[in-house]
């Protein structure tokens, strides 16, 4: 139950909006952090916290790309194949990713580690091909760099994600000096 584990965070989030329905996205992100996707139980809990109908909450989950209605892999690999990226080799990268992971877009590897998705423009067209993995950018992604990235995730995981709730900011002190470097330029 997110209300037990994230009581402090929930209180902070609710205080940000004059109308608590506005908290629906941050709370669903909390559910997703906790359960990996928006479970029925999580949806009911959010509905209860916000005094909404569970159907209303579920309709929100269905509407948005980044909220998942079914289990996904530990790492969701989202490769953009929109027009500007496609002009710079994104389709080839998608095919490479499919071969490397042994799955098609929309599927999850049998070990539960990776879900592969193709997505629309993620504002990195100048560094295409590009992927986001659990909302972290990986740009100028050649097939070799993709392979190295997958290997690193398999063996070392994603330490940068520890303690963070993808989709919600302002709950803890943000980036250190070092982490803040490397902006778009």
């Amino acid at each position: 139950m997110i209300r037990d584990k994230y009581a402090r965070e929930i209180e902070t989030i609710l205080a940000r909006y004059p109308d608590r329905q506005s908290a629906i996205l941050p709370l669903l992100y909390l559910v997703q952090k906790e359960h990996g996707y928006c479970t029925e139980e999580g949806i009911r809990e959010v509905a209860d916290l916000l005094d909404l109908d569970p159907t209303t909450v579920k309709s929100i989950v269905g509407f948005y790309t980044l909220l998942y209605e079914r289990p996904v892999g530990k790492y969701v690999v989202q490769i953009c194949n929109d027009l500007p990226c496609a002009l710079r080799g994104a389709d080839d990268l998608v095919e490479h990713a499919c071969r490397r992971l042994g799955i098609r877009p929309g599927e999850t590897t049998s070990d539960g580690l990776f879900t592969l998705e193709t997505v629309k423009c993620i504002a990195a067209c100048h560094r295409a091909p590009v992927a986001q993995i659990n909302l972290e950018y990986h740009e100028n992604l050649t097939p070799e760099a993709f392979d190295a990235l997958i290997e690193r995730l398999r063996t070392e995981g994603m330490p940068s994600a520890d303690g963070r709730i993808p989709g919600v900011v302002g709950l803890e002190p943000e980036l250190s000096e070092e982490e803040g470097r490397g902006a778009t330029g």
Binding site: L83, A86, P166, V169, G180
Partner: protein, 420 residues
């Protein structure tokens, strides 16, 4: 290219995202000036006089928009549209990551001008990393007293919240964004009424693009006359142009409106086309404005709102995607139609059903099974959608289809299944 930069100041000043560095380079001096020397109406009038136009795509005069907010209705809100999702657009992301304090200062100045006490920066969900950088800057601003109660010891207070969406291009449409921020489906509202009178939670709301608000601190600090020295009379100021596709140096380029042509952008700033190939077509505003064939006249068109409109398209957000001579135009139009079909919110029939059928027809064309009649139907469906949609997403979805038919019909005809 503008030197020094007015907006992309991270290019000139390393670490301007840090409060200390921002302050050392004039940061928050505009806010101090406005709060201590100017009334809210004076701030609105300076922005009106500057001629600043919205940088999210519509180009509506910003000061005029602020002027629509009723004086006697409270509370009021400022919402910063950071939903940047138009294909080929990555300028707002650089502002958030590279110069977040200028965005914050612009937001505070806007809130002061219209007397709002709460501001939300709505970032698309995929901007989780840029939002972390932005939040750090927000935390710094609070700590320094630029946000919160009694800013700089005045009567003016402002709470600022960074809110993330969850992946929906339609949430870049102002009223859909407000619905999403209210925790509802991100579908657009009927207008009128406009957000300035009935906005967030039904209250008067100013909603502006990130880049638009980043212009406000330099305008307030240096004045409207200074701002009008840049650009043209109808399109004053600096504009970040996003260049992508078949160019050697894709990226953000801050230019003066009206002073740089497509030719100069592509060949001088952008380093030309890989392989020395010819440019076949230009998309000036991502997927949402007509494709322009790369004629001499088009290449010599300056980048400003009026000139690009006269050339047969729109400047919009200035997301310039370059297609070279090897690009199959039908393939490009198909890819853009797939974008709109995916992003259609589903609220209105012409867009929801129309984008679905246009995409199905492109798939038949790609599979080589489309008849001549089906290609006619594709163009006809696009025409039938025009003028009938609840919001502009549906309208813009017809743009790649109709403009590709207009200038490259022979490429469609070549794909008709042999003998049919």
């Amino acid at each position: 290219m503008l030197q020094p930069h007015v907006l992309l100041r991270d290019r000139d000043v390393p670490n301007i995202r840090d409060l200390e560095v921002y302050e050392a380079h004039g940061g928050y001096a505009a806010l101090r000036k406005a709060l201590t020397e100017m009334t809210p109406d004076e701030v609105i009038n300076v922005v009106k006089a500057s001629g600043l136009r919205g940088r999210g795509g519509a180009g509506f005069p910003t000061g005029v928009k602020w002027g629509f907010v009723p004086k006697d209705v409270f509370p009021k809100y400022v919402v910063v549209n950071s939903d940047e999702s138009e294909p080929g657009t990555f300028k707002d992301r650089q502002l958030l990551e590279g110069n977040p304090h200028q965005v914050i200062e612009g937001t505070i100045l806007t809130a002061y001008a219209v007397q709002a006490e709460r501001a939300y920066i709505y970032c698309r969900g995929e901007f989780y990393q840029p939002a972390q950088v932005l939040q750090r800057a927000v935390d710094q601003a609070y700590a320094a007293g630029y946000l919160g109660r009694h800013i700089l010891g005045t009567d003016f207070s402002l709470e600022l919240v960074v809110h993330l969406g969850a992946g929906a291009y339609i949430c870049g449409e102002e009223t859909a964004l407000l619905n999403s921020l209210e925790g509802k489906l991100g579908q657009p509202r009927l207008r009128p009424p406009f957000p300035a009178s009935v906005g967030l939670y039904g209250k008067p709301t100013v909603i502006n693009n990130v880049e638009t608000l980043a212009n406000v601190p330099p305008i307030i600090f240096n004045g409207a006359d200074w701002y009008r020295q840049m650009g043209t009379e109808k399109s004053p100021g600096p504009k970040i142009v996003c260049l992508s596709g078949r160019v050697n140096r894709p990226g953000n380029y801050e230019i003066e409106l009206g002073k740089v042509t497509f030719r100069r952008l592509i060949y001088e700033l952008g380093g030309g086309v890989p392989g020395g190939r010819a440019v076949k077509a230009i998309l000036p505003a991502g997927a949402s404005a007509p494709l322009l064939p790369a004629t001499e006249e088009v290449l010599d068109t300056p980048l400003d709102y009026e000139s690009v409109q006269q050339a047969g398209s729109m400047l919009g957000s200035a997301s310039v995607i370059v297609l070279d001579e090897t690009v199959d135009i039908v393939w490009a139009a198909h890819r853009m139609t797939a974008f709109f079909e995916h992003e259609s919110c589903g609220k209105c029939t012409p867009c929801r059903e129309g984008t679905y059928w246009m995409l199905r027809l492109y798939e038949k064309i790609a599979a080589g099974t489309a008849t001549r009649r089906e290609i006619e139907i594709l163009e006809d469906v696009a025409r039938q959608i025009q003028g009938k949609t609840f919001c502009l997403l549906g309208e813009f979805a017809t743009s790649p289809v109709l403009s590709s038919f207009k200038h490259w019909r022979e490429e469609y005809e070549a794909k008709v299944k042999a003998g049919r």
